[in-house]
């Protein structure tokens, strides 16, 4: 890999110890993936924030890097293991909270905005088409590549942080044209009326065509009344596709920015009602929920409006959590949405999500509108799950059983 003088200076330690280690990481990755050069990045989205995942080792490393590491491009942070303000209401232990706050402060010392969200594109970090960025968090990576037309590989936490501190990333993979081209045609014939349906589609696709870039062609029924799916639905697909084994980029004909730029693949499959129904069934453990969870990935303002509207002031009988970014929550407070949801007994949490919060043992079963959320609730938090539309989730919260 070709290195310019700036990169060599960082490797020699002229930019400090954190920048030296970071440049070593970028050079190692560039060598493994046979990149020819480093390219500048316009932003970084950094995962590796929850103390539940990082532990004391991660905390130590970040505090060491924060001594002399400073970001070289606008950088935002993935969700933490708790709401940084209302963690007591979530039942987070004091010791966990103290260490979680130290992790976020270390990132802040490096100049990272403590946005603590997996939907940075709803919270001020929204790359334009064609921009190179270094993002981790698979749902955000897939949304940036597919829906926004920005270019990023699926970084890990340390490589995204290294790119942030150096302002660069190795030029390989989804930064190049070739790997972004669709390899498989998917004719979507099933109606997809909700984010949950788009997540089910992503789960079906991830299993059907692992590792191959899909080009989706929507039938009139699949596209919905507006003729094109809302961003919340594309976000649900962006979250589910990589979670269930698919790629970090997809194209939707007539919808996403790069769909028409590449040749149409010859090979393909059709996805019908039965495939989507099977994906729903695979994400239904058949257990009555004690937690209703919305906001994986973090809810948009439009979703918060819908939750408040669907609740319509009715009190909830089951725990209802809606997760979003601090930035969107503040706008929702201004619109009276948080007040309305919380008056019903729901909780609008910011900064965190139920994938990275320490919830194991506290809930038995969750119903959520997120296929990705189902996958991770089953894993680390050992819960039973059910995938359902937002309407069904809200009805489950106010106490209707699944038969009603």
């Amino acid at each position: 890999m070709q290195l310019d003088d700036d990169a060599r200076r960082l490797l020699d330690g002229a930019g400090g110890e954190a920048a030296r280690k970071s440049m070593e990481i970028l050079v190692a990755l560039g060598t493994i993936y046979e990149a020819e050069r480093l390219i500048p990045v316009r932003s970084a989205q950094i995962s590796g924030v929850s103390y539940a995942n990082l532990g004391d080792a991660g905390l130590e490393l970040l505090e060491a890097w924060a001594r002399d590491g400073r970001v070289a491009c606008p950088s935002t942070l993935n969700p933490a293991g708790m709401d940084l303000v209302a963690w007591r209401a979530m039942g987070i232990p004091e010791e966990f909270a103290e260490r979680q706050l130290r992790i976020v402060r270390a990132y802040e010392r490096m100049g990272v905005v403590p946005s603590c969200t997996c939907t940075p594109y709803f919270a001020g970090n929204r790359p334009a088409a064609g921009e190179h960025v270094a993002w981790s968090e698979s749902s955000a990576v897939t949304f940036a590549n597919s829906v926004l037309g920005a270019r990023t590989n699926r970084e890990g936490g340390p490589s995204a942080l290294a790119a942030a501190l150096c302002g660069r990333t190795p030029d390989y993979g989804l930064h190049r044209d070739g790997p972004r081209a669709p390899q498989f045609l998917v004719r979507v014939e099933a109606p997809l009326p909700s984010a949950a349906h788009w997540g089910a589609l992503g789960a079906a696709l991830g299993r059907l065509v692992p590792g191959r870039v899909p080009l989706l062609e929507l039938s009139a029924g699949a596209a919905g009344d507006a003729g094109a799916p809302p961003e919340e639905h594309l976000m649900a697909l962006s979250a589910a596709l990589p979670t269930f084994g698919g790629t970090s980029i997809f194209h939707v004909a007539g919808v996403t920015p790069e769909a028409g730029r590449h040749p149409r693949p010859a090979d393909g499959v059709a996805i019908g009602r039965r495939d989507v129904a099977e994906a729903f069934a695979a994400l239904d453990d058949g257990v009555e929920p004690d937690l209703v969870f919305v906001g994986c990935p973090h809810a948009s303002l439009a979703t918060l409006r819908r939750v408040a509207g669907l609740l319509g002031g009715r009190p909830v009988r089951r725990t209802l959590w809606v997760a979003t970014s601090r930035a969107v929550r503040e706008r929702a407070v201004g619109e009276g949405l948080v007040g309305a949801i919380e008056a019903s007994g729901g909780l609008v949490v910011a900064d965190t999500c139920f994938v990275v919060a320490p919830l194991a043992g506290r809930f038995r079963a969750a119903v959520t509108d997120s296929a990705k959320g189902c996958f991770y609730a089953r894993g680390p938090n050992a819960m039973k799950v059910r995938l359902a539309s937002l309407e069904e989730c809200v009805e489950a919260a106010v106490g209707g059983s699944r038969e009603s």
Binding site: E24, L29, I32, L54, A57, G156
Partner: protein, 110 residues
């Protein structure tokens, strides 16, 4: 010497260096202080932080030799200052053999 991929996040106990993944060929054996030879790494990127933690508490491998180094292991080795060699043909290396790693050079035997 491992014939299968190792996940440092969840597959290895960072406090002892022992492989804890059920059914793994090295299950129950420790990588601490050894030259670890494996075909490839796997698993979550949190594994990089685990390697760093193992290096800090002395339970990390003395060196890692990979047939095809993945990003999790490459990054973890840099964070933890663990010598790491990529694209290694493990011919001539087996359990118990003395291996010297000096930069990119791997010498088998005394």
């Amino acid at each position: 010497m491992s014939s299968a991929a190792i996940s440092f996040y969840g597959g290895v106990d960072p406090d002892t260096g022992k492989v804890i993944e059920k059914g793994h060929p090295l299950e129950g054996r420790s990588v601490a202080g050894r030259v670890l030879v494996m075909p490839v790494g796997k698993g979550s990127t949190v594994g990089s932080y685990v390697l760093y933690r193992m290096a800090r508490q002395g339970t990390a491998p003395a060196a890692i030799l990979c047939g095809s180094c993945d990003t999790v292991v490459a990054v973890g080795a840099i964070l933890g200052d663990i010598p790491c060699v990529d694209r290694l043909d493990p011919g001539g290396i087996g359990d118990g053999v003395v291996v010297t790693v000096r930069g990119e050079e791997v010498v088998v035997g005394e």
